[in-house]
């Protein structure tokens, strides 16, 4: 029975992550013990910080939404055995385009917001297709090309922000706040019987409808990956490129499309930064988060359905770390160390075999039984 449960990949995956988190949190605590005057207080801030106040919880969820989109973006590329560092550029352009529409296009919210989101995805799609094209037709290394395209996107973003978007004469590099028509609405509708909750969230933890959009994108990406012909092509490309080609799959097209779709999702994440989090365009808007999609995708093993959970868990760590840094004597560096340990453990392919060995040993006793039954699926 235990063995049967253990065989279920989902269960095994869950156990694996749980174990890794437990080990790393223990290690983290030991480190905190060594560096802090008040280790318990510091660690408590780390562990419970994100849920200690409603606004902190809001920050955590909002970051998790960004991380979910970024994780999906990277998971698509990883699943095809490709690599991309391009989220930063795609996000910047997504934020820029959606922000411009939010600020300047005189349409009512009901049109302005969808237009802005769509434009962000489109620009992400096109900008994402570029490294795909370079990879497919010129065999350009996608890590290098995406990083270089990031640099270009950054210049473009800064140029427009500084010379065209920021208010004239302002002494800072940021746009005005977006008008109400250009900001994503709160995830709770403003209807009478939800008035109290609406009030609470819109004022103190402004989680937006991006929450629903992100969930929809999770479902869509899952569907795309596991149910559509394109998803099949993408996965076969990842499993064995030569097989894909032999079987008649247009591998070049698949590579380009994979990068493009990944870019569209990252573009949407960029729109969320502007329209959902900062409510304006600022310099360095992607700082600190652009490459985190890689971690999330690794944690989720490129499984789109696991991505939001990985994003929540990882977002929690990031939020907790921030709070610990602010409210205790533990330095940011130590916090990063703890984070790194967790990532390392959770993503390490090595952990599973160790657990498996253990389970095998545990099963020693039940072996004789199994043999008498003639194995499970004797064929």
């Amino acid at each position: 029975m235990i063995r049967k449960l253990y065989m279920k990949p989902a269960v095994r995956e869950f156990l694996r992550i749980l174990l890794a988190i437990t080990i790393s949190l223990t290690l983290g605590f030991i480190i905190t013990l060594l560096v802090s005057e008040d280790p318990v207080g510091a660690y408590k801030a780390f562990l419970t910080g994100p849920v200690s106040r409603i606004n902190r919880t809001g920050e955590w969820i909002k970051e998790a939404i960004t991380l979910t989109l970024l994780g999906l973006s990277v998971a698509l590329v990883f699943k095809a055995e490709l690599f991309s560092m391009g989220a930063e550029g795609q996000m910047l352009l997504g934020a820029l385009v959606s922000g411009t529409i939010s600020l300047f296009v005189p349409l009512p919210a009901i049109l302005r917001i969808p237009l802005a989101l769509f434009a962000a995805m489109l620009v992400g799609f096109l900008f994402g297709a570029l490294p795909g094209y370079l990879k497919a037709h010129l065999n350009a290394n996608e890590i290098v090309s995406t990083l270089m395209l990031n640099a270009i996107a950054l210049r473009v973003y800064d140029y427009f922000l500084i010379f065209h978007i920021k208010p004239e004469g302002a002494g800072y590099n940021a746009s005005d706040f977006f008008p109400k028509e250009g900001v994503l609405p709160t995830f709770i509708p403003n209807v009478p019987f939800l008035a109290e909750a609406y009030e609470l969230f819109s004022r103190r933890a402004n989680i937006t409808i991006m929450l629903y959009i992100a969930i929809a994108v999770v479902v869509l990406v899952w569907y795309l990956m596991y149910r559509t012909p394109f998803g099949y092509e993408l996965r076969m490309l990842g499993a064995n490129m030569k097989f894909a080609r032999y079987g008649g799959i247009n591998t070049k097209k698949t590579v380009i499309l994979t990068f493009a779709i990944s870019g569209a999702v990252a573009g949407l994440a960029g729109a969320h930064l502007g329209m959902g989090i900062h409510e304006k365009l600022i310099a360095n808007i992607t700082i600190g988060i652009a490459f985190e999609g890689i971690v999330v995708a690794l944690l989720a093993r490129n499984n789109p359905v696991a991505v939001p959970f990985a994003a929540l868990a990882y977002g929690y760590l990031r939020a907790g770390a921030d709070i610990m840094e602010r409210s205790s004597d533990v330095s940011r560096e130590m916090v990063l160390v703890i984070q790194a340990i967790i990532i390392l453990l959770v993503t390490a392919e090595r952990v599973l075999p160790i657990v498996q060995q253990r389970v095998n040993n545990m099963r020693e006793n039940t072996k004789a039984e199994a043999i008498e039954e003639g194995g499970q699926n004797v064929i």
Binding site: Y223, Y232, F243, Y246, G248, I249, G375, N377
Partner: protein
């Protein structure tokens, strides 16, 4: 003399619940050549991996030279003097032959690999056992025959006394097989013990002293080879009488399906691999290509199937140009292809069996419904193929990697046969599959041809080419050297002369017959 290896009541259950060995008793005498035969999935490789410490038995004893052993890894087995060459090679492709051979026990000089010493030792061991290799060649660039010799030398270099060869001849040409057998005999003369797995019963008869037959994880029997016949072994393996000859109704040649015209291919290094090759394939016939491996057959097939661009020439399927088109376009023109290297091209190992079966059809009905793939249809196709082609697995959702070698081949065969082709290009279609499955694939090939499919058969197994083909062409160094319109009336010796380029028909002679 006490046995050098003795397995007592070995059980092996894989984590997925498959019981690969069921109470196997198996013993090997020192200095013998012991053949191990059995159907695909009978548990041969598993049993050998247990001896080699790669898999641990679920229950049972492994006794080596009188001592009970518990190998935790192959390193332990190597230390006990056991070496194994796997069904799928495990060399480092970017290393040289010598580096691969000494890998793990490198002669070093100040902590660095002593290349010259590695080369010298390679030459020495290669001469000692009569296994020719080029020490300085990069493994990626050498042919399978030499790769295998490298694998064997590697095991010997590590001090193997007992050598396990898992289907060593599956990838070899007949000539290379003969060389291998010579080497095996030499090894035994020098006191080694050899266990080898094969599906070719002729080889069992030719080289082994004793033979053990496995069926569905159990030993059916061990007997001296002198008391066995091919027929009796086949019966023991399969549990019924097996037709070792192919029954073939006379060919009804139909219309021309494929035309290959003046095909030339010059590879990246400037070598002319195919030179002015022309021939036709007709509906309802099997055209066999006989040739020693490496004379352009591989490239010919790759060009015909869109996997490789040609330098010049023309190829038409039902009048439609297919040269330098994409593999998809070639397939849509009605061509299906069993590739010679199943692991490189034919399969995606981590993908499921079902998903491997649809790579040529996932994008069209009934497998595509609306915007998505209808996975119910896919599962149905999977279940049908598993049943009809006897793929040994509990579930089509399992990854192909969990199948035995021969069952992997059946997945490919199932896919390519069920695509309802006009032209079937079969390269080494029975490589690595058991007598029962070989019989099945051959029957199916003949059935396809009798039903009006044009079949191009490329095989290193001359016996296969001769018994299946209606018409045979021979290739040598990228050129067609002869064409034999009546495959039944030509002898092996005659073909051999053309395959080695010793005899050559003139263009005029061949023109009519191609």
């Amino acid at each position: 003399m006490p046995p050098i290896i003795e397995l007592k009541a070995i059980y092996k259950i894989y984590p997925n619940g498959v019981m690969a060995n069921k109470g196997v008793n198996f013993s090997v005498e020192p200095g013998e050549i012991h053949a191990l035969v059995g159907e695909n999935g009978a548990g041969k490789s598993t049993l050998m991996k247990i001896i080699y410490g790669m898999e641990q038995p679920t229950q049972g004893q492994v006794v080596v030279e009188g001592l009970e052993r518990h190998f935790h890894s192959s390193r332990d087995a190597i230390d006990a003097g056991i070496g194994m060459v796997h069904q799928n090679f495990m060399l480092v492709p970017s290393f040289t032959v010598a580096e691969n051979i000494v890998l793990g026990q490198e002669p070093t000089q100040r902590g660095l690999l002593n290349k010259q010493k590695a080369i010298d030792e390679t030459i020495q061991i290669s001469e000692q056992y009569g296994l020719r290799v080029e020490p300085k060649a990069i493994v990626d660039s050498i042919n399978v025959g030499m790769r295998q010799r490298v694998e064997i030398l590697k095991a010997l270099y590590r001090g193997a006394n007992i050598l396990i060869l898992d289907e060593p001849t599956a990838v070899l040409t007949p000539q290379e097989t003969q060389e291998l057998f010579l080497a095996i005999r030499k090894l035994v003369e020098q006191g080694k013990t050899v266990i080898f797995i094969t599906h070719k019963l002729r080889e069992v008869m030719e080289v082994s002293d004793r033979v053990t037959v496995l069926r569905q994880g159990e030993v059916v029997g061990t007997l001296p080879t002198s008391e066995a016949t091919r027929e009796s072994l086949a019966r023991m393996m399969v549990g019924r009488d097996v037709l070792l000859r192919v029954e073939k109704p006379p060919a009804q040649r139909g219309r021309k399906v494929m035309e290959v015209q003046r095909l030339t291919y010059i590879n990246d290094t400037g070598r002319s691999v195919l030179n002015d090759v022309s021939f036709n394939i007709y509906a309802g016939e099997i055209l066999g290509i006989a040739g020693v491996e490496g004379n352009g057959q591989t490239e010919l097939v790759e060009i015909m199937t869109g996997l490789r661009p040609s330098t010049s020439g023309n190829a038409l399927v039902n009048g439609k140009a297919v040269l330098n088109k994409t593999p998809r376009e070639v397939r849509m023109a009605g061509v299906s292809h069993i590739p010679e290297d199943r692991l490189t091209n034919g399969l995606a190992l981590e993908a499921s069996i079902n998903e491997n079966l649809i790579v040529d059809r996932y994008f069209r009905p009934p497998y595509k419904k609306g915007a998505s793939i209808d996975y119910k249809q896919v599962a149905e196709l999977g279940a049908k193929s598993i049943e009809k082609y006897g793929i040994l697995t509990p579930d089509g959702e399992l990854p192909v990697a969990s199948l035995s070698g021969g069952n992997m081949q059946k997945v490919i065969v199932a896919r390519e046969f069920t695509s309802d082709p006009e032209l079937l290009i079969a390269a080494q279609p029975t490589r690595g599959i058991d007598v029962g499955a070989t019989e099945f694939v051959r029957e199916q090939l003949v059935k396809q041809r009798t039903d009006g499919t044009a079949v191009l058969l490329v095989s290193a197994d001359l016996g296969e080419v001769m018994s299946l083909s209606d018409r045979i062409i021979t290739m040598f160094e990228g050129e067609i050297t002869g064409v034999f319109p009546d495959a039944a009336s030509v002898t092996e010796e005659e073909l051999g002369l053309y395959m080695l380029g010793i005899k050559h028909q003139s263009k005029e002679e061949m023109e009519e017959l191609l």
